[in-house]
Homo-oligomer: 660 residues x 2
């Protein structure tokens, strides 16, 4: 039905939020507008089923989908994205459909207080932020010395701070006469190295601001990692080189889809790009508010912003049309983004603040990866390094200070709980660890927050599958051993499944299971990542065994178990001490470049030196992928230690070996 | 009275314009808002009396001033600036209070078609505009070559046009993906040399625009001279190096005052600066419309704007507070204005167009003078040159390619007809030439447009005073020879006066006279100019007699008679063939710099090399000034030829010599 002008009330529980909507309004859209967080992985297309809600009172007009069972439909469950409001409503958002912010810090893997593993951080940089403040006491003008205000200021800047050859933003000139005279010709200038250094360029500072009096102790920068799911920010004191505050929030675009492809699709609808941009800007502003709520500082003293994100996220933030990112041959608009005023995008900082966006390499290897590489200093060392960020879009870099190759693997959403029957993002109640008794085949599950389980997150999925494999409940092909006698293994709607928790043990009141389809989805995801690594290393004539260092970055990566990830064939079977977790490497890079202009220069060099490989162009990728569709791999030689350990494990109680 | 909400109608004749105003609204303000041009030299303060109007029907509340005689008051004359509307009105604007545009081209002294005197124009420059267009056919992206759109474009720009190391405006990136694909990867880029070359800097182009297809033949620039009274513009074809169209209009700020000091005063009233800025921007837009009405081209292909003006005019255009220009020690906000988007000021050109403002030297030696110096090539020649722009604020430059000194003399408004009983700007009906019979002492007057006279313009005033001096009607002290027997000399309200035209011969129906006060005002004006020249030349150890070239620029200068100007002691008494008129030198400079990046670089160098002298700081200036308060000068040796000629002239019919 079309929207009418009739106004209706919708009450959301358990949030106790009331909103007024027009008759016929979509329920998901209305909830999002009111700030009620509902999962909507597919962007409201009725495909993923994550936005399931319970209509407790009132009526909606709703398209029937297979994501709602007969029984659920009877109970009043509907997909929010497929429902239009017909009457006043009371809507309950079940736990599994909720986005919670309480466990965000676990989700993002942000390392607090800037303490990263010492072996994986850029070294040798000096503290020289691209932003500089200089306090100057100017001589008063006289008839014998009545040069222009600006000439006087530049003369003072040279004498006092030895800064010359300065460009000046027009807005500085506009307020110059007043500011100079406000505190008796005592002023503080803010200069910024706007352009990074290229071969042909010297660093030329731009004066972006001037303040009356001495404010030289107060200058801050904001650094952000703009993720598809979460947005993390830090407020940095550039005077003391410290992190003052950090904060994070779910990307406000989540309601428009879980992954970048869904977001790009939405951006192509009328007004879609604008809405997505507003959503992310609004989240950034929310994090900024949070950062300043934590600190004594004032946003007016922020002089610079550095942002790292995947190409789609930064494009949308900048209002660039991401259309061609998802169309072959996948060309992004620009790898190097010219300086842009943050304020012009709607970000609530001073008018003088420029946004530096980390340069990207390709449509699917973005500035977040470049930032991570710079942050951990891959470009500074001879060590052959594999840097990976595991996720729906997995990015891989191989190289060292001399060369780097990179690629992106489309792994699918399994690592983030997508396409998994009871999958969910890593939030309270998600099963994140799992043990199984080899004899009874009874499981023990551990959830985030220690609550009753309500689903399985990606890292939990790896642990469950590794556990089931080692207990021989599933075979190396990912299929259930149906000869085993346990009621945990049963035939469900989607084929065989294993019951992790019985209905009475869960928050949802329904059994939580893992199905053969789920296992298959995860195998395909890990096969894509591993085949990507293999293809990339082989393209430069090395093998995974040559890697001297494997750096695992990103929210998801921070929470995986190395041993179990190797067991299922996600990570290469090399000495465990070569693996390093760096959490949010992207934010680390953004922070360090905010402290060091040298590293900011490096960002441009690193982006330019990285060679992007399109896996779809490589004939060997598909072979590698198919070979990896096994636990851990069809070629036992690729995983010698895992193969040996699996062979040594006792058979399960059925007595039947599974290696056959 | 305060304004009320009651609406009243005002009809203006002879324009036949009707406007609606609120009861109590000021009449001048209402007329200006409706586009009815009324003279208001003092900016509406009731001091100058130029906004005299006749209330034919209806009532106004009006402050009585001495500018309206008893008789005029009875007839219904009022000062528009002092009147508030009480009822519906019919208002007649008398000829002497009108601004007319018909004779603008005489007024501005713009040399049509770019034909300047060959001996006074910059030479040796090559045609290389700061704006460059480049048509590129890019190879289509493939999976093997899927670099970003921007990288592809920059690669093409380097290969095709050998332009590298380019900065890119963010707005170009924003539209890049669409524009590239619109005409099958065939595009035309526009690059601009935004910053001029300084010692430390190479020229670094900025890409400011991209258009689909081949538009490389279409690129234009706009150049403007922003004068206090008139605004002149030219549309240039940068592909062929030609002037396509030219236009001019009265500066819309005229209603706020005739001179920069009155305008600055107005800018300090609430909202004043904004109104002045809107007025000048509106005039610029009006001239742009006129330029495009004359040409086949479209404003979208304008890629650059260059503007020259005095410091107050450019500051107001840019929205910079001119407050400190009129307060000692007269510091302007900036001599070098950073590039600014023309569109952001309200100028109706494409969003990509930058405004280059000619650098200035001091508060009273602006970019128009620098532009003139560059345009005529003073900085290119060894010849000792005096460059002068005569006006209310007279600017003088002395120097050559090695050095330049400059100063500004406050001459007062006499040259523009201000402070002269029947003074007016150079418009139709202004007496511009004058002859007098030595025997009968009867005058012959010539007016602009050959109509009946209605006043005296500045150049007419010089000619009248020179004529009266040579006929010995006035003495060298400027006083009337009252011994002469002619009814033309009589005692008026303001002392002795000479009747130039009787009431029945004039448009105004009143006698047009020149008074001793008028003559005194002109003597003070010319004395200030001459003393300025003298002080400036002496400051560098030369005298006026050493000058090898005198360049007279500006609207007023173009119409003066050299011989008569020397006779009254305005110009130095040196060989007449050393004088050159260049008309609007400022516009010439703007045009040439639009054709040549070398000259644009020169602009910065010239502004930096000019040493400004504050006359108020020079003890000798006041001595020189007092010595010059005589016709032509108290020191006969300063004007040897004039002195000799005056001595040889026969006495007037009175038979009494005036040299005694």
């Amino acid at each position: 039905m079309a929207k009418t002008d009739k106004r209706l009330r919708v009450h959301f529980s358990p949030d106790n939020i009331d909103i007024t909507v027009r008759e016929g309004e979509g329920l998901l859209k209305a909830a999002m507008a009111a700030g009620v967080h509902i999962n909507a992985a597919c962007g409201g297309n009725g495909v993923c089923g994550t936005c399931k809600v319970l209509i407790k009172k009132g009526q909606v007009e709703s398209t029937r989908t297979e994501k709602i069972s007969e029984e659920e439909y009877e109970q009043g469950f509907r997909l929010a994205c497929q429902s239009r409001v017909l009457t006043d409503l009371v809507v309950d958002i079940p736990v599994e459909s909720r986005l919670e912010t309480a466990v965000l810090s676990r989700e993002t893997g942000m390392v607090a207080g800037g303490v990263e593993p010492a072996e994986a951080i850029a070294t040798g940089w000096s503290f020289n932020p691209p932003l500089n403040k200089c306090y100057i006491e100017l001589p008063l003008p006289t008839l014998k010395d009545n040069i222009s205000d600006l000439s006087r200021l530049l003369r003072g800047l040279k004498r006092r701070c030895n800064i010359s050859n300065v460009s000046v933003d027009f807005e500085v000139v506009r307020k110059l006469p007043q500011v100079l005279r406000k505190k008796d010709w005592q002023v503080t200038t803010t200069t910024l190295v706007k352009a990074v250094k290229t071969k042909a360029d010297r660093r030329k500072p731009t004066m972006i601001n001037i303040e009356p009096g001495n404010t030289s102790q107060k200058y801050y920068s904001l650094v952000f990692d703009i993720g598809t799911t979460t947005i993390c920010g830090q407020l940095l004191d550039l005077n003391r080189g410290k992190v003052i505050a950090e904060g994070m929030a779910y990307n406000g675009q989540i309601g428009y889809g879980a992954d970048v492809i869904t977001r790009i699709a939405y951006s192509q609808t009328p007004g879609g790009l604008k809405k997505l941009q507003q959503a992310v800007v609004s989240t950034v502003n929310q994090v900024i508010d949070e950062l300043f709520a934590q600190s004594q500082s004032s946003v007016e003293y922020v002089g610079h912003m550095i942002i790292a994100g995947n190409t789609t996220m930064t494009d949308i933030l900048l209002g660039l049309d991401p259309k061609y990112i998802r169309l072959a041959p996948y060309t992004p608009a620009a790898s190097f983004i010219p300086p842009v005023k943050a304020n012009s995008l709607g970000i609530r900082v001073g008018k003088h603040v420029y946004l530096f966006v980390f340069p990207s390499v390709a449509s699917y290897v973005g500035g977040d990866i470049v930032s991570g590489i710079v942050g951990v200093g891959v470009h500074q060392r001879k060590k052959l390094t594999l840097y990976m960020d595991i996720g729906t879009n997995g990015e891989i870099v191989v190289g060292n200070s001399d060369w780097m190759v990179t690629t992106a693997c489309s792994a699918g959403p399994a690592f983030e709980g997508g396409g998994i029957k009871h999958g969910m993002i890593a939030a309270t109640g998600a099963i994140e660890d799992f043990e199984i008794s080899p004899s009874s085949l009874e499981p023990e599950v551990h959830t985030i927050g220690g609550t009753k389980p309500r689903g399985i997150c990606g890292s939990g999925l790896i642990n469950i599958i590794a556990g089931l494999l080692e207990a021989r409940v599933i075979g190396q092909n990912g299929k259930f051993n149906t000869d085993l006698t346990t009621k945990r293994i049963r035939r469900g709607r989607d084929g065989y499944e294993y019951v992790l928790s019985w209905a009475h043990e869960t928050q949802t009141g329904r059994d939580i299971v893992i199905t053969e389809v789920d296992i298959d989805n995860l195998i395909r995801a890990k096969a894509a990542m591993y085949a990507g690594c293999q293809t990339l290393t082989k393209s430069v004539g090395v093998s995974c065994f040559n890697l001297e260092q494997v750096i695992i970055a990103g929210a998801f990566g921070s929470h995986i178990d190395i041993e179990k990830s190797i067991t299922i064939g996600l990570l290469p079977d090399i000495p465990r001490d070569r693996f390093i977790f760096v959490g949010n490497g992207s934010l680390t890079g953004a922070r360090l470049t905010s402290f060091s202009t040298d590293l900011l220069d490096d960002a441009r060099k690193v982006a330019a030196m990285m060679t992007n490989l399109e896996l779809s162009e490589r004939a060997d990728f598909m072979n590698n992928y198919v070979a990896a569709l096994f636990l851990p791999h069809t070629h036992a030689g690729e995983f010698p230690n895992v193969t040996e350990r699996l062979a040594e494990l006792p058979d399960s109680k059925s007595g039947r070996g599974l290696n056959t």
